[in-house]
């Protein structure tokens, strides 16, 4: 069937070359010397997606007033003119909309060192900080800020703007009974500010595209925005906007806006259908990562465009690839490297698509030992460059540890990644020699991607628990690292009716999930599944049917029933051949870490071999 996501679509009189949108997101790509401007890093980021065929690009949300400074390098509209120009220039024929917003009470006072401003003095659950209620002058400044920024963006060459009333947005806070307790006109009519802003923006930009990112479900029906209330708001503003991107989530549910794979792709489809209004192009956002789903949505008429932000982080050339009849590199929805609204300012990245270019002249044959993610990526990059590759795998299937991780709840998409690698390699004529062990030769070009090994100990290593299952009886998972694997294993065991406890040294189990946005949801799933979370504790003793744990601060001990103790602690690198030219050791064979490091190092090895 012909893909329709690659068809053009008209928005506000301008033609987008495809029905796919690359949504606004935090990038930390700014030059630290000009932290509030859009710089060359941004231009390259958006250019790659435009070159890959995307239809609409919405740039990282820029604050419309200087008092809003939600993160250190949050763009400020007043400093974005040159950046918007460069992006618009670099991205043609894609339409470029400037993301404009104000984070309100969900901002940060760290950089302005002044109070936050919000509809009412309701503290944000994340920071606990009480904001000051915006007064009339402040509201007027916000309206003017949106209008001025919109005019500047269009003057800079953007095709239009997208107004932020979704997650992290003052305009949503005004719309919501959770955060708007005002007794003035802006409380009596909670949509008044949005209407004023959109009217001012429309007046400022004339016929350019006006987009609206709108929360249509705060998942808090007792006071928050609901699809019904949002539908009414959309009806009121329909004459002012050309395109709307419905999203979900409030300050109480930030993780629900761009969730990981625990939430089904396309989860907003039904909601979007119910809030659509005539005359406004509607975009389905929300974990739309598979071209097949996107096509189905578009063909069915449930939406006019699809937002595929994370899918285009994994595959910048998604639209072009689909047009060419091929399958793009799949997004695995782990959120490990793309969810970077994080005070540490990590640059945006992708678990499966490292920012490393591995191309070069064809070289002599390469032996890749191990078909886990590191070996698969190295082999694929080399094969694509025309290098004869021999890929051997000791196991009877490719994927390494990922095969087993893919059996855990919320991690199923890793199987898709492994299958994609195998298909891509097969299309290039590379077969994985399964059930084959290879000695690493003393000469020649070799990539060693043999993975990690278990540490010796009396407990059941987590890798063995994943691949071979866990013997009967109560299970205690000793999880000193907290990268999420133990949490997922506990969920699976609990779903099988097992009695499970996780012991963690920190204040929460699975602290590594903070990065993926799943930390809070994971605690809730574990609590509902009856998994005992023993925090600020370490395992100090073990008998045939019990494990003793001690509080890391007070030393108080607790005994947990345990027929099985699973060691989810660090694995170890195997001994590898002595370094020599042409030999590249990658992934867990260097130091056991996550799939992202494995893929990255596989590609780095290929780059070095091709150099």
């Amino acid at each position: 069937m012909r893909a329709v996501l690659g068809d053009p679509v008209v928005l506000g009189g301008r033609t987008a070359p495809a029905r796919v949108l690359f949504g606004p997101h935090v990038t930390h790509l700014a030059d630290p010397r000009r932290p509030r401007a859009l710089g060359p890093g941004h231009v390259a980021h958006y250019r790659a997606r435009a070159a890959g065929g995307t239809g609409v690009i919405v740039t990282e949300v820029a604050s419309v007033v200087a008092g809003d400074h939600p993160y250190e390098d949050a763009p400020l509209a007043a400093e974005c003119g040159p950046g918007w120009s460069a992006i618009a220039e670099a991205c043609r024929p894609a339409l470029v909309l400037a993301g404009l917003g104000h984070a309100g009470g969900q901002g940060s006072s760290a950089h302005t060192r002044g109070p936050l401003h919000a509809p009412s003095p309701v503290p944000d659950p994340a920071s606990g900080e009480v904001p000051a209620a915006l007064d009339e002058d402040g509201i007027a400044a916000v309206v003017a800020g949106f209008a001025d920024a919109a005019a500047a963006a269009v003057a800079a060459g953007c095709d239009g703007v997208e107004v932020a009333a979704g997650q992290h947005a003052l305009l949503r806070q005004f719309l919501s009974g959770l955060t708007n307790h005002r007794d003035d006109a802006y409380g009596a009519d909670r949509a008044l500010l949005l209407v004023e802003v959109l009217a001012a923006v429309r007046a400022a930009v004339g016929s350019a595209v006006v987009g609206l990112r709108l929360t249509v479900d705060e998942l808090a029906p007792w006071a928050g925005v609901t699809p019904a209330s949002a539908r009414e708001v959309l009806g009121r503003v329909a004459h002012l906007v050309d395109v709307v991107v419905p999203v979900r989530g409030s300050a109480l549910s930030v993780g629900a806006t761009r969730p990981d794979a625990h939430t089904a792709p396309g989860f907003l489809r039904g909601t979007v259908r119910s809030v659509r209004v005539d005359g406004v192009a509607t975009v389905l956002a929300g974990s739309v990562v598979d071209p097949a789903l996107a096509d189905d949505v578009l063909a069915s008429g449930d939406a006019d465009l699809v937002e595929m932000t994370r899918a285009q982080l994994a595959a910048p050339d998604l639209v072009a690839t689909v047009r060419g009849g091929a399958v793009p590199r799949p997004c695995v929805l782990t959120n490990q490297h793309c969810r970077v609204r994080d005070v540490r300012n990590p640059r945006i990245g992708c678990t499966v698509a490292p920012a490393v270019t591995a191309t070069g002249p064809t070289v002599e044959p390469v032996l890749v030992v191990g078909a886990g993610p590191a070996g698969l990526e190295a082999a694929l990059c080399l094969a694509r460059a025309g290098v004869p590759v021999r890929l051997v795998e000791r196991d009877d299937a490719p994927g390494g540890l990922l095969r087993h991780v893919a059996g855990l709840p919320g991690r199923e998409r890793f199987a898709r990644l492994v299958a994609w690698y195998a298909d891509e390699l097969g299309a290039l004529g590379v077969t994985v020699a399964l059930g084959t062990s290879a000695e690493v030769p003393a000469a020649g070009r070799v990539v060693v991607a043999t993975g990690g090994v278990d540490r010796p100990g009396r407990a059941t290593p987590i890798a063995a628990a994943l691949s071979h299952g866990v013997p009967p009886g109560p299970v205690v998972l000793d999880d000193p690292l907290g990268d999420g694997a133990a949490v997922a294993l506990a969920e699976r065991l609990a779903a099988d009716g097992r009695e499970v406890a996780i012991v963690a040294p920190g204040v929460l189990v699975g602290p590594g999930l903070a990065r993926t946005g799943d930390l809070v949801d994971a605690q809730a799933r574990l609590a509902r599944a009856g998994v005992r979370r023993v925090t600020e504790a370490r395992v100090t003793g073990r008998s045939a049917d019990a494990v003793t744990v001690a509080d890391v601060v007070t030393g108080a001990t607790t005994t947990l029933p345990a027929a099985v103790l699973v060691d989810a602690g660090p694995r170890r690198a195997p001994s590898t051949p002595a370094p020599r030219p042409g030999l590249h050791v990658v992934g867990d064979a260097v130091a056991p870490r996550t799939v992202a490091e494995a893929v990255r190092e596989g590609r780095v090895a290929a780059r070095e071999l091709l150099a």
Binding site: E72, P121, P570
Partner: protein, 629 residues
């Protein structure tokens, strides 16, 4: 040992080829002032201010010797030759005021992350760090040799920048400490190679110091005896030895202890080292007043005394100490210098709003001859009002401060009544002292209804409790702290706000014999105490007092004294029937009716109820908002 040593804080001390003018050191600490991994004008202004304030020796924050070593974003990469102009600016700023300045060099080893480098973490072994939780790649001998070169390269940049020397960190966050701690036979060889490489780079006319690790606070970890052994092994190569306790990624509260930890808690380390080596020894350990600093030197614990937070709070600490004057004291709140820095933000100080912003110089409270003297009425004697009064009076205005109650300090004074929080009162006392010295007329028991003859009014009236409308015996924490009620029996403390209010009150009541349970909707009990490093001590005390902590629960309401709780993760409902409910939640701004036609400036909690630092900062900056009078 070479005979009795000079014991006065103000006595000069020889550090190899150079002489420090006194014994007060501003030791290395993170500032997050770097931009693009280079030192900035803020570094120069920051260190320069402490030199101007009288410090004898300034030691910069760590400069990394390997571009891939980057546990936090704003770590300076000393290997980049582009750092040299920044070093030169620091040297000039410090030398202009007669102090010495050395750069600390280090490598964080396994106490790091690949978040920025995107390459494997290089560690002493493959044990993951407990904070970063990432399995390192053990450094090979060739890898260590490369790092020796890195130390030499950065040392050459330091010398080129005109600093007085180098300090090699082997302590809180250091590959060298990791090697020593794991009893690696490579440890001393590597350290000696590093010292030789640095000495070769800087020559005999620059100072070379080393910071050694004493007590790690970890079972089986390093102790003072290990610090002595390392110090002895390197003594012949260095001009001074500095000391440290605690591991930055494991036992951080030992390094930067919060209020309640006594001065000199770490003195056993420098005193043991000092007894064993003949080079000068620097000691550290919460020396927040001149008396603390003087006493530890006089007692012979160390030759020089490191004062970090004391000099952040009062840049003129050293000069005032030597003159016998009173300083604005560090209160050990750790809000701005520790918690903020841990969040990748610029260092600040709750009691000194200029700290961390020296280059901007936007809160300078200097008299402005061109502006006319105004009659300023400050309403409210909490920290915001006191700070406003001080800065207005110093700017030359005629200031009256009116406080409705019979004491100064507002909520800060109340908070100081809780166990282990008494040092908060130092901030009130120091501001009140400065207000008197600056000529502020302080009027207690003076509610204000009109501006009187004032030309400008500063409203610093704070916030008032917002107690929920539950059908139970509910009181606000401030009522308890003020002593107006004395809950006993079974007490449920509802932590619905942030900070210490709930935990402090819970502890106060438990000490009085109440059976206390705390409840929070957060996933972690007393979570706000972690960033300021108060949480560990709180947990020990709470355990000793039998305080029970409930998490993940929202109080939905109460009827006939029975509270209805929702465990929000599971949806399970519970009831709770305490004798008293003590509520700690966000208060509401309090803005009194005021009949006036003169300009009114609002500062602190009456704008939006926030932390101590916001109150003092806005109060201090109030003058800037006066506008034309």
């Amino acid at each position: 040992m070479t005979g009795p040593r000079v014991m006065g804080l103000g006595d000069p001390v020889r550090l190899g080829p150079r002489v420090a003018r006194n014994r007060i050191v501003f030791p290395a600490h993170l500032t997050n002032a770097a931009v693009a991994r280079r030192p900035t004008p803020q570094h120069a202004a920051y260190y320069g201010a402490r030199a101007a304030g009288g410090a004898g020796l300034v030691i910069t924050e760590e400069q990394s010797v390997d571009p891939a070593d980057r546990p936090y974003e704003k770590l300076v990469d000393g290997t980049d030759p582009a750092v040299v102009p920044g070093y030169r600016a620091i040297a000039e700023a410090v030398h202009a005021h007669g102090a010495l300045v050395v750069a600390q060099l280090g490598h964080n080893g396994g106490q790091s992350s690949s978040l920025y480098s995107l390459t494997p973490v290089d560690g002493a072994d493959d044990e993951p760090d407990p904070m970063f939780r990432e399995v390192p790649r053990p450094l090979s001998d060739a890898g260590l040799a490369r790092l020796v070169d890195g130390f030499g390269l950065v040392a050459s940049h330091v010398a080129a920048g005109g600093l007085d020397g180098v300090e090699v960190q082997c302590s809180q966050a250091s590959l060298i400490r990791q090697l020593v701690s794991s009893r690696s036979p490579r440890a001393l060889t590597f350290l000696l190679s590093v010292l030789r490489a640095v000495r070769e780079a800087i020559g005999p006319d620059h100072v070379l110091g080393v910071r050694v690790q004493g007590d790690e606070g970890v079972p089986g970890g390093l102790t003072a005896a290990d610090a002595v052994a390392v110090a002895r092994a390197v003594e012949a190569h260095v001009d001074y030895v500095s000391t440290a306790v605690g591991v930055a990624t494991r036992t951080l509260p030992m390094i930067e202890p919060p209020m309640g930890v006594p001065a000199g808690y770490a003195a056993h380390v420098p005193s043991a080292v000092r007894a064993a080596v003949s080079v000068p020894v620097i000691g550290v350990g919460r020396f927040t007043t001149p008396a603390h600093a003087r006493d530890t030197v006089r007692a012979g614990d160390c030759d020089l005394v490191g004062v970090v937070r004391g000099q952040i709070a009062d840049p003129a600490f050293a000069a005032k100490a030597l003159r016998g004057e009173r300083v604005r004291r560090c209160i050990g709140c750790n809000q701005e210098c520790i918690a903020r820095v841990g969040l990748n933000q610029r260092l600040g100080c709750a009691v000194n709003p200029s700290a961390g912003r020296e280059a901007a110089n936007d809160l300078a409270a200097s008299p402005r001859a061109e502006s006319p003297v105004a009659r300023v009425l400050v309403v409210g004697g909490g920290p915001a009002g006191l700070a406003a009064a001080v800065s207005a009076a110093r700017a030359g205005h005629a200031v009256t401060l009116a406080e409705a109650s019979d004491v100064l300090g507002g909520q800060l004074a109340l908070a100081a009544r809780a166990p282990e929080r008494g040092e908060l009162a130092h901030a009130v006392a120091d501001l009140a002292y400065e207000a008197r010295e600056a000529g502020v007329a302080v009027r207690l028991r003076s509610p204000v209804t009109s501006a009187g003859d004032a030309d400008v009014v500063v409203l610093a009236t704070g916030a008032r409790p917002a107690v929920p409308d539950w059908d139970a015996r509910v009181v606000d924490v401030t009522e308890v702290l003020a002593g107006r009620v004395a809950p006993g029996g079974r007490v449920l403390v509802v932590d619905a706000g942030r900070g210490h209010a709930a935990t402090s009150t819970a502890e106060l009541l438990a000490r009085r014999g109440a059976a206390v349970t705390t409840v929070t909707s957060a996933l972690v009990a007393a979570g706000d105490l972690a960033p300021t490093l108060d949480r560990e001590r709180w947990r020990r005390r709470a355990a000793d007092l039998g305080i029970t902590e409930l998490t993940d629960r929202v109080v939905l309401g109460a009827r006939d004294g029975v509270l209805d709780l929702l465990h929000h993760l599971t949806g399970v409902r519970e009831t709770w029937t305490p004798d008293w409910v003590v509520h700690a939640g966000p208060p509401a701004p309090y803005v009194p009716e005021l009949v006036t036609d003169v300009p009114v400036v609002r500062v602190g909690d009456c704008v939006a109820p926030r932390d101590l630092d916001a109150a003092i900062r806005e109060g201090t900056g109030a003058c800037e908002q006066f506008g034309p009078l």
